[in-house]
């Protein structure tokens, strides 16, 4: 009955704080849905008058309701039902068609009564809808900074990589005085680039936490979002889940990764390529340092992982053959 919809409207009523001039009118309509059977009529009449001015604007532009196949698909909240749905739909149909009027509880008498009968589903549905509404309200109530949202701003991953690489190159060389294996002129050049123009201050943690992961035996790699993890254990767990529980749809080789990747007890070992192109065993360095220097990951068979520095000898960096 009420519970679902009251929750719905309660959540929505929080929104006016963000968009004051619009919410009350629009959500006035939706609040109507919240009324129970008995209250609906009175609720409708009072609030509908408030709603009408806005809705009239809408109705001019509303195109005709496509009549044929949608009849079967109700507009109502309860869609699993059979016969009841059809009857309700027709009412809903005409209300859409008339003027795009925001639906009220009057349009869904059967829905509301169905809800009353099932105590279980409705309470369950409450949480479901609440989650939906909550996710919406969460988005609108807490001003989400662009850097915290996945895939926003919509910049292609390829371009992001380029930005990050340019930023890393500029930042990285400021600290790397010791390692002199590259050409000196190139280093000096990179230093000069820091003076030319403003540095692109791409947030290191901001967005680009996706690194490629390949596992021996499967040609197609996956990607893991390092920003979603705050420790080696968490990342290793995610990798184990990714490759353990999904028999890769193209490759049918079963993988047995019985135990963790980090402690060396599995037949696989986790390695990474750092920004200098060296392949290292994962776990050597503090997590944050790892995140800022990792370029990609490889899950290698233990038998092939010769020549990589064991976890204990954290200060030695040995070159190993790239893939």
């Amino acid at each position: 009955m009420g519970p679902i919809i009251i929750t719905f409207s309660t959540i929505f009523s929080k929104l006016p704080s963000l968009i004051p001039s619009f919410c009350p009118l629009v959500y006035g309509g939706l609040v109507l849905l919240g009324g129970g059977n008995g209250d609906a009529s009175s609720g409708v009449s009072t609030d509908e008058s408030a709603v009408l001015p806005k809705v009239e604007v809408v109705s001019e532009a509303c195109s005709s309701y496509p009549a044929e196949s949608e009849l079967e698909l109700g507009l109502g909240l309860s869609l699993g039902g059979g016969g009841g749905a059809t009857g309700k739909t027709k009412a809903a149909n005409s209300s859409w068609g008339e003027c795009g009027r925001i639906l009220t509880a009057k349009d869904f008498p059967s829905v509301v009564s169905q809800r009353t009968n099932n105590g279980g589903p409705s309470s369950v549905a409450v949480s479901g809808t609440k989650r939906a509404a909550e996710s919406v309200s969460h988005e609108s109530c807490s001003p989400t900074g662009a850097s915290q949202v996945v895939g926003w701003p919509p910049i292609r991953a390829y371009r992001m990589n380029s930005l990050v690489n340019q930023a890393k190159a500029q930042r990285g060389d400021e600290g790397d005085n010791g390692i002199v294996e590259k050409d000196k002129p190139k280093d000096a050049l990179k230093k000069r680039l820091n003076c030319n123009g403003k540095q692109t201050t791409v947030n290191e943690k901001g967005h680009l936490g996706f690194v490629k992961v390949n596992i021996d035996g499967i040609p197609i790699g996956r990607k893991v979002d390092l920003n979603a993890h705050s420790s080696y254990e968490s990342m290793a767990q995610a990798l184990e889940d990714m490759f353990l529980r999904s028999p890769n749809s193209v490759e049918n080789e079963p993988l047995t990764m019985a135990s963790k990747l980090l402690d060396g007890s599995s037949e696989f070992v986790l390695t990474y390529e750092d920004k200098e192109g060296d392949w290292m065993l994962v776990g050597d360095v503090p997590w944050r340092m790892f995140v800022s220097s990792v370029r990609r990951l490889r899950i290698m068979r233990t038998s092939e992982a010769n020549g990589l520095a064991p976890i204990n000898e954290s200060n030695e960096r040995q070159r190993s053959k790239p893939i």
Binding site: G74, I102, S135, L193, S249
Partner: protein, 586 residues
């Protein structure tokens, strides 16, 4: 076969007439005139475009068009570009290659976008198609330089190898050495996305030397500036050139060498690359600027003064891609210098910075709209916007076909009035009657969708994020936009009602993407049951949707029309809603 009356042409004549009809739309229309035209047309169609690789099976395509020479396939939904489609979702090209290898041995051209291509696929291409001419991979992944090497080594008639923004596993720098010494047919080579630090320059130079038909050459970042001059001198016929790193220690002789090399390229019309630009070297390209029609500086971290100087030298520019370092002042100069500008893309240099790092606002866009009457296509990232500016832009540019505005902070209101930007975008759709593509941003209510549904009758693709108030918004779009083919939505409060009410519309579209919205699992199931010609895919990495209440919203939803039924290559986090309600979810 058919009785030939005095009023019908022989098949050969019709075929000859059809050969002048190239566009897919027209070809499709031709094929629907009558059965005999359908038959004749299908035997002589040479190019097929499949906008969604799961909409049809390779076998069906080949059965209908047995004589194709060129195929273009698109795989993942557009939002995959922004990491919204989980890795492993699909879009594998291998099954297509396998089918075509057997049935269409004369295939010449394969173009793929957002697909997973493996080395095995590339090797099969190299082995199967004796007259293979062109491979264009756009935003693809899953392969390495080994696969490309197979193509280079085997395809004697290869004219085009174009890797645009691909994620390539770069195993060695020796891709180019796999082209045989006898190979000379290269016309277009784009390896700009290859990451390898080693490129054999002598191999590159020899390749360029012997391929006298080379028109397009886009190098990767590994190629340093001091090597460019030699390459350009060996290929003065180049039309489209992409530099590698545009940085070197400043030496007078290397600068003049470079400038001389550029001036020898009389045909050069398009430049790109420009990673790590050292501004002092930029004037080296001035000799070619007056004829340039396309300039991609979107990786060039140079500041406004240099950009202004550069842009002022390019009066014939039609296409400009640039970072927001250009600032409003630079765009004003652009507006006064480049009267032929048709396309402008301005990318953010610091997308995650909280404070603006450059002075690029709505003013720049207004200036360009005012000064460039031929402007048709815009992609603009900025941090503030006003309805007034948008209305001005709309009135200035009624010829817009593509308008994509990204205000970096979600739900940003009109900075002057603090109102939503409904009216501004409304003006865009109202004045730009030929608008085909639109991306929205900023604070938007259901009203903007009302405008879109009312006016955007030619709109084919709409991208929506963090907008709208209720299902009414979605209903306006689905019921009003007659030409809509692709709709992608994220983080909007759209739920079941509008979707279900407009279910039939979905069959007239290529696809619908909805993520972080409020569509319940129940609605997805219902759609799947009732609409057998749609694949309704629920993508949810949290686990099976039936482990949660039916009214729970799904994480991501991808609906597309198909004649191929459910696909068989889904990963564990994708569920297709079945036609038969008694079937269990797989």
């Amino acid at each position: 076969m058919h009785k030939k009356t005095a009023f019908s042409f022989p098949d050969e004549v019709l075929e000859h007439v059809f050969s002048f009809i190239q566009s897919d739309k027209d070809r499709n229309s031709v094929s629907m005139v009558c059965k005999s035209w359908y038959e004749i047309e299908r035997w002589c169609r040479r190019k097929v475009f499949v906008g969604n690789c799961y909409a049809v099976s390779p076998r069906m395509v080949i059965k209908r068009f047995p004589e194709i020479r060129s195929i273009e396939l698109k795989g993942k939904p557009h939002f995959a570009d922004f990491n919204l489609v989980p890795d492993g979702w699909g879009g594998y090209v291998f099954p297509w290659i396998v089918e075509m290898a057997g049935a269409v041995p004369w295939l010449e051209e394969i173009k793929l976008k957002r697909m997973v291509v493996t080395d095995e696929s590339l090797e099969l291409i190299a082995k199967s198609f004796k007259n293979f001419k062109a491979l264009v991979l756009s935003s693809c992944e899953g392969f390495s330089t080994d696969g490309l090497a197979a193509i280079a080594a085997s395809c004697k008639n290869l004219k085009e190898l174009d890797l645009r923004d691909c994620d390539v596993d770069d195993l060695s720098g020796h891709l180019l050495s796999h082209f045989p010494d006898t190979y000379t047919s290269l016309v277009s080579l784009n390896i700009s996305c290859l990451g390898s630090d080693e490129v054999s320059f002598s191999t590159l130079e020899r390749l360029v030397c012997r391929c006298t038909n080379l028109r397009t050459l886009r190098l990767n970042r590994a190629v340093p500036l001091d090597k460019i001059a030699n390459i350009l001198r060996r290929a003065p016929q180049l039309v489209d050139f992409g530099t590698g790193t545009y940085a070197a220690d400043l030496r007078p002789d290397s600068y003049s060498d470079l400038a001389g090399a550029f001036s020898s390229c009389k045909e050069l019309r398009s430049l790109s690359g420009f990673w790590d630009v050292v501004p002092d070297y930029l004037p080296a390209i001035y000799p070619v600027c007056s004829k340039l029609t396309s300039l991609n500086l979107s990786y060039a971290t140079i500041q406004s003064p240099e950009l202004i100087k550069l842009v002022s030298h390019c009066p014939n520019l039609q296409r400009l891609l640039v970072l927001d370092y250009i600032e409003d002042s630079g765009l004003e100069v652009l507006a006064s210098s480049c009267k032929n500008l048709q396309e402008l893309r301005v990318f953010p240099s610091d997308p995650f910075g909280v404070e603006p790092n450059v002075s690029l606002t709505e003013q720049g866009l207004v200036a360009v709209s005012s000064g460039c009457p031929k402007l048709q296509s815009v992609l603009y990232f900025c941090r503030r916007m006003s309805n007034e500016a948008l209305v001005t832009v709309a009135k200035n540019c009624p010829n817009f076909t593509r308008f994509r505005l990204c205000i970096i902070e979600p739900r940003t209101a009109d900075y002057q009035t603090l109102e939503p930007l409904d009216v501004g975008f409304g003006a865009i759709v109202q004045y730009c009657k030929d608008l085909q593509r639109l991306s929205l941003s900023g604070l938007l209510t259901d009203r903007v969708f009302e405008y879109i549904g009312t006016y955007a009758k030619k709109l084919e693709m709409l991208s929506v994020a963090f907008a709208g108030d209720s299902d009414l918004g979605l209903h306006h779009v689905l019921s009003g936009c007659e030409s809509l083919r692709k709709l992608e939505i994220r983080d909007c409060p759209f739920g079941d009602k509008a979707l279900l009410a407009n279910a039939a519309k979905l069959e007239t579209m290529r696809s619908l993407w909805m993520s972080s919205c409020a569509v319940s699992f129940r609605a997805c199931k219902l759609l799947g049951q009732k609409m057998p010609r749609l694949n309704v895919e629920v993508i949810d990495e949290r686990g099976p949707p039936d482990s949660r209440p039916e009214s729970c919203p799904v994480d991501k939803l991808y609906i597309y029309r198909t004649v191929a039924g459910s696909r068989f290559d889904m990963p564990p986090f994708v569920w297709t809603m079945e036609d038969d309600p008694s079937l269990q979810l797989s």
